[in-house]
Amino acid sequence: MKHYDLIIVGAGPAGIAAARKAGGSVLVIDDNPSAGGQIWRGSEIELPCEFLSGARVIDGDARNKQITVESSGVFKLSYKKLILCTGARELFLPFPGWTLPNVFGVGGLQALAKSGLDVRGKRIVVAGSGPLLLAVAAYLKDHGAIVPVIAEQASWTSLARFGMALLQHPAKIKQAFALRRSMRYVPNSWVTKASGVGKLQNVTFQDGRVEQCDYLAIAYGFVPNTELAQLMGCRLNGAFVAVDEQQQTSVPGVYCAGEPTGLGGVDESLLEGEIAVMGNRDRSKTTHFSRALNKAFALRPELKTLAAPETIVCRCEDVTLGRLREAQSWREAKLHFRCGMGPCQGRICGPIVEHYFGWTPESVRPPVFSTKLQNLIALKETTYS
C-alpha cells in the first residue's frame, strides 16, 4: 500500500491552498478531469505535488489511517494526515417541472458552460437565491447568452442589510455593482413552474408571469459535502464538519477545510486550506462575511409549498412528495419508497427532505460514492489475500 505524509481530498480552492503550503510526500485527489474545483473549472492550475484526477474516495478508515480510492481500478492508500476539501453542492428545491431536461443548477449550468457548452444566443432564466445568481448570469451574458431575468427569492430589505454588512468588504461591493449592470435583477421573485414537452420551454413565476426560455438555471444556495467526513467519524456541528482553530476535526489526523466547515466562499476556503497545513491565521473578516451571507439569503416559507403531491423529490428513484407524506421518518421513506437509495445516495433529495420534513439520514455508509461491484470484489481480494 502506498503511503503519503499528506493526502488532500478535493482540488478546489481549499485543497489547492493546502497543497501549495504543504511539504513532504503529498497527494491531491479529485473526481473531476482537472484541478480548480467549481470556481476555477477549466483554468490551467498547476499543483506542486502528485495529483490524481478522475478519482473518487469511496471509503475511509480513520483508525488505520487509510482511504479507498476508485480510479481506473480501486486501491487503498495510507496517510499521516488527511485534509478533506470536499466542497459543497447546490441546494435544489422541487417545483412542478424541475425534472425536465434543460433545467440546471446555477453553478451546474456554469460548470457545463466552463466544460465547453456553447451558450451563445440561448435564452436563460437565472433564479433561486444567493450571490452566485449574479455572478453566473454575468458569466453567461459575457459568453453570449440572453438573460431576460434574474429572479432572487430574498426581499429587497434583506438584500439591503446584506449590502450594509458588505461595507467591510469594499472589493465585494464593487464586484456586486459591476455584475448588476444592465441586468434585470428582481428580488422577491421565484419560479413556481417549469413546463415543456420533453424539455423545458416556459418558466412561470409567483406573480403568474411566464418567460419563454431555452435553459433555466436554478438553485437555492449550497449544501456542504460532509459525507466522507461523516463516514470517517468526524463530528458535525449542525450541518457542518466541526473543526478547531487548526481545522482539525474530532478525528485525529483528519482535517477539513473550505465549504464543508461553513459556507464562506472562495476567500475563506483559501484561508482554511492554508490553516489546515500551517496553523493559525487571522480569520475574523471572512467569518463575518459568511454570517451576513447566510442571513441575507434565508429561504422564504413559500418555497416549501411549490411542489405538488405528484412532484418528484427523489430523482433517482422517482419518489414523489405525496409518497413521502405517507412516511414518518427518513428511514421509512427509504424502506417503503426507496427515497435516497439511488446512485446519488440522497445527495440531491436528502437536503430537500430535510427542508420539507426535518428528517436527516441516520448514518453514512461505504461506498460513499456508487461504485462497480467488480471494484468491491477486487478490493476484498486485495485485502484478504
Binding site: 473531476n32 478531469p33 453553478g107 451546474g108 457545463l112 465547453g116 446512485p343 440531491i348
Partner: protein
Amino acid sequence: MLEIFVNGHAVKVPPKTSVAAAVLQSGQSAFRMSVSGEPRAALCGMGICYECRVSIDGVAHSKSCQVLCMPGMKVVTG
C-alpha cells in the same frame, strides 16, 4: 476541434469539452430515462446528481459531466 458521435450523429467540439456539454451541443435533450420513464438530463454539472448518465464507448452509467471528449468517442443516451 474534435469529433465524437452522439447516438451515431457526429458532433464537433473544442478540446477539453465534457461529454455532457457535447451531448447538449448535439441537440439531444434527454440523457437517460428515469425509473418511471421520464426523460432526464444533466442537473448539477459536477458529478453529484447522476442525472447525466450515458453510455460512453460501451461503458454504461458513465457520468458524462466528468468525462472529457476523446476523438471518435461513441456516446449513447438512454
